[in-house]
Symmetry: C2
Subunit: 240 residues, 2 copies
């Protein structure tokens, strides 16, 4: 793990960019150490392009004493796009616009993404947990498809906040039955292009006994700010 | 309003029973005054018989500085039962056990209950707000059917936590469209005898733009304790 930039922010949080082999990432750490860790597994780019995710990470670090790490998934953010991925994205957009079923495209696109991203998260986790400023239990939050697979195969993940606003292949919905860690599941009630029933079915599918669904009005990017505090308190209950 | 008992509890909360005409109630107040008020509109009896509701009220008062009042609805708790109500209860039980539709029984039982309970809540609110130890905005939590009508007709109610584990007549589902205050809606995912879809439809029906659904695993009485803190923080956002 090689740190490529370092900046002390005005809320006292240390923000560092890093690379780990091909993987580009960002780490936010609070003043206090060792801090429990939250992995922020988002589908989009790096922090510079997703201000609301940076705001979440900094709030977790500054107000709740968590370390937070985000990496770019293969073919996302600062990483090179493959022709296959670009084709899948175009197919997905076209099918959504035409109102056609997207199950096959999602299977062909998201399942390989999760299969590539999860080993990278585990490698990143090894590196992060070797840092003296990070210690204790680990949580995951963000993209559901990657998170389900990660929660199933990685025993160091102790709790998760999943964001329901993304496509989840049927294979991973089935795998959700093996997820037994406590989780909070965020649903945007008016998410564009997402149907509500499959999300409720996925909530049902999770194998854990301690799961809470939080549904709020509004579209994909409209998660209310108070949910950041709700998520932080959920992680505080389970990671501290 | 006549106080009939007074007890300082070990968490510093003052618990007083009162009567107001025919209405028996309990008031919990914190050490600090004047405190914003939460009305606890439950369908069951008084505090002595519902320890989990007493625990909620005391936690609100001791940890968050709210005053909390509970009254017995007509025909509930310490109040005399009418033959009509007893018949309706028996009919409802029989229909539920036989798996028959209950809509007509619910309309005939719950709608008159809400119609009688709401004016009593408003009278109680007048009396409570005249006490020097109570001041500021008012919230409501508990039984949904009474709460919908109260939120529609009583402008002093600023925020509400509704518990989805009770029957709501169609008339009140329609009235829910006129509810415009912020609300949190608690659903027990495995509530015995309640279907999930009508509850989700009711969540959809509420006219307010700021509404959050919290769904947890478990049956009617199994709301996790952390939801008490979530509700308290919701009221803190909106009443303080």
């Amino acid at each position: 793990m090689r740190f490529t930039s370092e900046q002390r922010l005005d809320d006292g949080v240390l923000e560092r960019e890093f690379t780990l082999g091909e993987i580009p990432g960002v780490l936010w750490t609070p003043g206090s150490a060792p801090a429990p860790l939250i992995l922020s597994g988002h589908n989009g780019g790096l922090h510079k392009r997703l201000p609301r995710l940076v705001a979440r990470a900094r709030h977790y670090a500054a107000e709740y004493g968590f370390a937070v790490a985000a990496i770019d998934a293969p073919g996302h953010g600062d990483r090179p796009r493959s022709a296959v991925d670009e084709q899948a994205r175009a197919d997905l957009r076209r099918a959504l616009e035409a109102g056609e079923p997207v199950d096959e495209i999602v299977d062909a696109f998201i399942l390989p993404l999760a299969e590539k991203a999860v080993p990278e998260w585990r490698t990143t986790l090894d590196a992060l947990l070797s840092l003296p400023e990070i210690g204790g239990p680990v949580g995951y939050e963000g993209m559901t498809a990657i998170g389900i697979r990660l929660a199933v195969v990685e025993p160091r993940i102790s709790a998760a906040v999943f964001f329901a606003g993304g496509f989840v292949p049927g294979t991973l919905v089935e795998e959700a039955r093996q997820v037994t860690i406590p989780l909070q599941f965020l649903l945007q009630w008016d998410d564009e292009g997402m149907e509500r029933q499959p999300v409720l079915d996925l909530f049902d599918a999770f194998g854990t006994k301690e799961k809470t669904l939080h549904a709020n009005l509004g579209g994909h990017a409209g998660v209310p700010w108070f949910e950041v505090d709700d998520s932080a308190r959920f992680f505080t209950r389970h990671l501290k």
